[in-house]
C-alpha cells in the first residue's frame, strides 16, 4: 500500500466515490477471465481523458504502475494488476458520442459495451461486424486493445480493420489524437494501428473513431456434417475458390462432436467426424442461390448430411450445436486450458492431427473447434486440476501445441493476445531482434515502465 497522499490526490482528481481502497473492492478488480488474481492498491474509475491525463502524470512522478481495465473478460490477464498499483477502470466512459450516417463513421468512448454499440448502429441500418464471443460484456476499449476477432471476421476482418482514429492518453499523461474520421490518411506513422492490439501497454484509449458498413439485409444458416476433417477443410477452400465468402465458417472437430454426443441429446450422426456451420449474408434474393451453390460445391467432399435453416428458429437450432460445446466440455473434465492458435487455412487438418497425437501422447482430452475460414483454432485442453500431474501434463501439451502451430507457419494467438499467459512463450514465435524493436517502442513511449508493466514481454523492458 502506498502513501495516503496519493489516494488523496486521486480523490481530488476523480472524486471520492470513484476511488476504492477497501479490501472487498480491491478483490472485485483483481482478476479477469484467466482466473489469475492479484490485488491492486487502489481502483480508480475516471470520468474523462483529462482526469486520466492527471492520473498518469501523478503515476509517472511516483512510479506507480497503472493497469487499464475494461470489462475484465480478457483471456490472457491483460487487465490484471500483477504489480499492485492502480487499476484504471474505464467503464464510466461509456457514451456513444456520434453516429455519422452520412460518412458511416461513429465516435465512441472506450467503455461502451460491444453489443450495445452494435445494437445502436443497427437501429439506423448500419453494421459493426467484429463479433468476439464475449461481445455482450466486453468493452470497445478492450476490443481495440486486444484487436478482438470473431466468427464474422473471415468475411469482414478484425477490430483493427474498423478503427480509423483514436484519442489516447500517453503513459506520461499527454492527450493526443491519432488518425481521424476519413477513410484515407497517410500523414505520419499509423499510430492508430500501433495502438490496436497493444494490450494497454502503450496508451490508454479514451475515444474511438469507428468505420461502419451498411447492414446486410438478411442471412442464412446451414450446417454441413462431414466424414473427415480433411473433407471439411477442403470444403472451406473450395467455397472460397467458388467466390463465396461466408460470414461465418465455424468448424467442430471429431472430438468436440464426441463430447456433444456424450453430453447432449442433439442429433449428431455417428458417421460425422467434422462439422461446418456456415452463414452467408447479403440481399435476400441472393441467399438461397448462395446456399445452393455452397451445397453443390461441398457435396463431393464426404458430406454426411446438410441442414439448411429456413427460419430464425431453425437457424438458432443449428447454432445450438456450436453453443452447446462449452457446457459439454465441462462434462469431460472440469478445468480447461484454452488456447487460440491460428494457422494458414489449408493447414487446419495437419494441425488437428498434430493436436490429436499430442492428446494421445499425454492421455488428456483435447478438443478443437473454431473459425475454419481464417484457420483460427480454439484448442481446449481438458484436465482435472485436482488430479495430480494433470496440470503439468497440460502445460507440456500447450507448449507442443504452440510449437506445432509455429511449424505450420501459424501463430500462438489469433485473438486473445499475449498478456501474462503467453509472455513466457514470446520468443518461440518472435525473433530476438523483433522483440527488441518492440521493446524500444515501449521504452520510448513509457520511459518509467508504469503502463501495464509485465505484460507481453517476459522480462523487463
Amino acid at each position: 500500500m502506498f502513501d495516503q497522499s496519493i489516494i488523496t490526490k486521486l480523490q481530488q482528481i476523480s472524486g471520492k466515490d470513484q476511488v476504492l481502497t477497501d479490501k472487498a473492492d480491491l478483490i472485485c478488480y483483481s482478476y479477469d477471465a484467466t482466473q489469475k488474481q492479484y490485488l491492486p492498491d487502489v481502483v480508480v474509475h475516471p470520468g474523462s481523458a483529462e482526469e486520466i491525463s492527471q492520473i498518469m502524470k501523478l503515476a509517472s512522478e511516483n512510479k506507480i504502475p497503472v493497469f487499464p481495465r475494461g470489462a475484465g473478460t480478457g483471456f490472457t490477464g491483460g487487465s490484471v494488476p500483477t504489480a499492485g498499483g492502480i487499476v484504471l477502470g474505464l467503464t464510466r466512459l461509456d457514451k456513444i458520442l456520434d453516429i455519422d450516417e452520412e460518412n458511416l463513421v461513429a465516435t465512441i468512448e472506450p467503455g461502451v459495451v460491444t453489443a450495445e454499440f452494435q445494437k445502436t448502429v443497427e437501429k439506423v441500418g448500419l453494421f459493426y461486424p467484429p463479433d468476439p464471443a464475449s461481445l455482450k460484456v466486453s468493452t470497445m476499449g478492450g476490443n481495440v486493445a486486444e484487436c478482438a476477432g470473431g466468427p464474422r471476421c473471415v468475411k469482414y476482418g478484425v477490430t483493427k480493420d474498423y478503427i480509423i482514429g483514436l484519442e489516447i492518453v500517453t503513459p506520461t499523461g499527454d492527450v493526443i489524437k491519432t488518425g481521424g474520421p476519413t477513410m484515407k490518411g497517410v500523414v505520419g506513422y499509423d499510430l492508430t494501428k500501433l495502438i490496436c492490439g497493444s494490450e494497454g501497454t502503450l496508451a490508454i484509449i479514451t475515444e474511438i473513431v469507428v468505420k461502419l458498413l451498411p447492414k446486410p439485409e438478411a442471412k442464412k444458416t446451414m450446417l454441413v456434417l462431414f466424414d473427415s476433417i480433411d473433407g471439411a477443410a477442403q470444403a472451406v477452400s473450395a467455397i472460397i475458390r467458388g467466390k463465396i465468402i461466408p460470414t461465418t465458417l465455424e468448424f467442430l472437430d471429431a472430438r468436440t462432436l464426441d463430447c456433444i454426443r456424450q453430453a447432449t441429446d442433439l442429433d449428431v450422426p455417428a458417421a460425422a467426424r467434422a462439422v461446418l456451420l456456415i452463414e452467408v449474408d447479403g440481399d435476400r434474393e441472393f441467399l438461397d442461390k448462395q446456399v445452393a451453390k455452397v451445397s453443390s460445391i461441398v457435396q463431393p467432399l464426404g458430406v454426411v448430411e446438410t441442414r439448411v435453416a429456413d427460419t430464425p428458429e431453425q437457424s438458432e437450432a443449428l447454432w445450438q450445436m456450436r453453443r452447446s460445446i462449452s457446457a459439454s466440455l465441462r462434462q469431460v473434465n472440469p478445468d480447461k486450458f484454452n488456447e487460440d492458435i491460428c494457422v494458414p487455412r489449408s493447414k487446419v487438418p495437419d494441425m488437428i492431427r498434430k493436436i490429436e497425437s499430442i492428446s494421445d501422447h499425454y492421455q488428456i482430452p483435447i478438443v478443437n473447434y473454431g473459425h475454419a475460414g481464417d484457420g483460427n483454432i480454439h484448442v481446449n485442453i481438458m484436465v482435472d486440476e485436482k488430479t495430480p500431474g494433470d496440470h503439468e501434463k497440460a502445460e507440456k501439451a500447450v507448449f507442443e501445441v504452440f510449437q506445432g502451430a509455429l511449424e505450420l507457419g501459424g501463430t500462438m494467438s489469433g485473438e486473445h493476445g499475449v498478456g501474462i499467459m503467453k509472455a513466457p512463450f514470446l520468443d518461440m514465435e518472435l525473433k530476438a531482434n523483433t522483440i527488441d524493436y518492440m521493446k524500444t517502442i515501449k521504452r520510448a513511449l513509457d520511459p518509467n515502465n508504469i503502463l501495464n508493466p509485465g505484460k507481453i514481454f517476459p522480462s523487463d523492458v
Partner: protein
C-alpha cells in the same frame, strides 16, 4: 430436521465460476450500478475470499452481499450454471451467524421480534394500517418485505385485505371425484394482499372440477427469510409446511406465486431428504391448468371484439426453472386478450426478496427499465404470475407516470369463466 446448507458446502459451486464475466450482461443489480461487486462474478470472488479468510466482514463486503436480488438471472445465462443466488444467500446466513441477524439488512432482526415491530410501528406509523398489519403472523415474509419503518412513503402498495384469503374458505372444497385433488399453497401475497387472485384460482379449479384443499396451518414459504439470511426462520417455516404436506392427501400442490414455487421446489429440497417427495408434486397453477387441457377449453370461447393488449412479465423464479411457455399459452388462449411480447420480458422487476426495502433507489432504477419496455410494447395490461412482481411492476409504472395496470393472469382468467 430441516437444515439449510452452509457457505462451506458451496465450495465446489464457487470453484465452478470461471470468471468469464458473462453475468455482467444479465445481472439487474449490476445493470443499475456498474460496480463489479454488484455482479455474480464479484460476489463469488468475495464469497471465495471469505471462505479463505482473506477478507473480513467489512462494510463494503456487506453492501455487495446485500446488493443482490437473488433473482438467478446470472445462473440462467451462466455457461457453467453457477447458482450465485444460493451462494449469496448462504453468505448472508454466514454473516448473520457471525455478526447477528441485524447486521445484515438493517431492520431484519427487529421485524422478526414481534414486540419490537409493534413498537416501531407505533412510533413511526408506516405504510400499512397498524390494525391490519397486526393480522400478519410475525414470521410471514411480508413482514420482511415491509418492515414498516424502512418503507419509503412514495411507494405504491396494495391495500391489505381485512379478511385474509384462507379465512374465507373451508379447508376442503370438494370437486368431481374422478378429477385430481390439489393442495393450494396460497403464499402470503395472495392471502393478505391479493385475495381476489386466490378467488380467481378457485374459480378456475372449480371450472375444471378438481377438489381443492386450503390448509389453514400452512405458513409463509420462507423465501423472504432466505433473502434476509434468517436461517432459523426458514428452517422452522419449512418444517411447519412439511407437516401440512404430510398430513393431507392430494395429488398436487399448486402455487400461484413464483417465489413460493421456488421456495418449495428449490430451497426445501436442499434442506433434507424428507422434502424430496413433495418437490415433484408442486406445480405452478398454469403448468397444472395446461396439463388439464384448460387452454383448449379457453380457446373454444368466442373471441371478443374489444380485446385488450396484454403483455407478460416472466417472474425470475419461474423463468429460471423453464416455466415460460405455460403462462403465455393461457394468456394467448383468453378470448379478451390480444397478446404482445415485450422486449426483455424475462428481466427482473427489481423486487428481489428484501432487496427493494433496503435498496429502494437501485430497485427503482431496475423497475424504471422494465417500465420502459412495458410502455414500448403498447400493452394496456401487464399480466404475470407472482404477487411480488405485481406490486413492484405497478410501483415502477406509477413512478414512470404511465397508465398500465398490472394483474395476475388468474384475474383475467376469472373474467371469462361463468360464475
Amino acid at each position: 430436521m430441516a437444515k439449510l446448507k452452509k457457505l462451506e458446502d458451496y465450495r465446489d459451486e464457487i470453484d465452478q465460476c470461471v470468471k468469464c464475466g458473462g453475468c455482467r450482461a444479465h445481472c439487474p443489480a449490476f445493470g443499475a450500478e456498474k460496480h463489479e461487486g454488484r455482479v455474480a462474478r464479484g460476489k463469488i470472488a468475495l464469497a471465495d475470499s471469505l471462505l479463505k479468510g482473506d477478507v473480513e466482514l467489512e462494510e463494503k463486503f456487506l453492501l455487495d452481499m446485500s446488493q443482490c436480488l437473488l433473482c438467478g438471472s446470472c445462473y440462467s445465462q451462466c455457461p457453467n450454471k453457477v447458482h450465485t443466488e444460493d451462494i449469496v444467500a448462504a453468505t448472508r446466513r454466514e454473516i448473520a451467524n457471525r455478526k447477528g441477524l441485524s447486521t445484515f439488512g438493517k431492520g431484519v432482526g427487529t421485524v422478526l421480534k414481534h414486540q419490537g415491530v409493534m413498537n416501531l410501528l407505533a412510533k413511526g406509523g408506516g405504510a400499512f394500517s397498524k390494525l391490519l398489519f397486526k393480522k400478519i403472523p410475525e414470521q410471514s415474509g411480508l413482514r420482511l418485505r415491509f418492515p414498516a419503518p424502512f418503507i419509503s412513503s412514495d411507494r405504491t402498495l396494495p391495500p391489505l385485505t381485512s379478511k385474509p384469503f384462507r379465512e374465507r374458505h373451508p379447508e376442503v372444497i370438494p370437486g368431481d371425484p374422478d378429477k385430481p385433488t390439489v393442495l393450494f399453497f396460497t403464499g402470503c401475497g395472495i392471502n393478505y394482499m391479493y385475495p381476489d387472485s386466490g378467488e380467481a384460482l378457485l374459480k378456475a379449479l372449480k371450472f375444471i372440477g378438481v377438489t381443492v384443499i386450503i390448509p389453514k396451518a400452512q405458513v409463509c414459504c420462507g423465501l423472504p427469510a432466505v433473502s434476509a439470511g434468517a436461517a432459523n426462520t426458514v428452517e422452522s417455516l419449512a418444517e411447519e409446511n412439511l407437516a401440512v404436506f404430510q398430513q393431507n392427501k392430494y395429488d398436487y400442490i399448486v402455487t400461484a406465486c413464483a417465489s413460493c414455487h421456488s421456495g418449495l421446489t428449490q430451497i426445501y429440497p436442499g434442506m433434507g431428504e424428507e422434502f424430496n417427495e413433495f418437490r415433484d408434486k408442486v406445480k405452478d397453477i398454469f403448468v397444472f391448468l395446461i396439463e388439464q387441457g384448460f387452454a383448449d377449453k379457453l380457446a373454444q370461447l368466442p373471441k371478443r371484439q374489444d380485446q385488450v393488449k396484454v403483455t407478460y412479465h416472466d417472474p425470475c423464479h419461474l423463468r429460471n426453472h423453464g416455466i415460460t411457455a405455460e403462462p403465455r399459452a393461457i394468456l394467448k388462449a383468453l378470448p379478451q386478450v390480444d397478446f404482445v411480447e415485450m422486449e426483455d420480458a424475462g428481466t427482473c422487476c427489481g423486487l428481489g426478496g428484501t432487496y427493494s426495502v433496503y435498496h429502494y433507489d437501485t430497485s427503482k432504477k431496475i423497475g424504471a427499465k422494465k417500465a420502459g419496455f412495458i410502455k414500448e410494447s403498447g400493452a394496456e395490461l401487464v399480466a404475470t404470475d407472482c404477487p411480488g412482481c405485481i406490486m413492484q411492476l405497478q410501483d415502477s409504472i406509477n413512478h414512470a407516470d404511465e397508465k398500465q395496470r398490472v394483474v395476475h393472469i388468474l384475474d383475467l382468467v376469472a373474467e371469462v369463466l361463468p360464475e
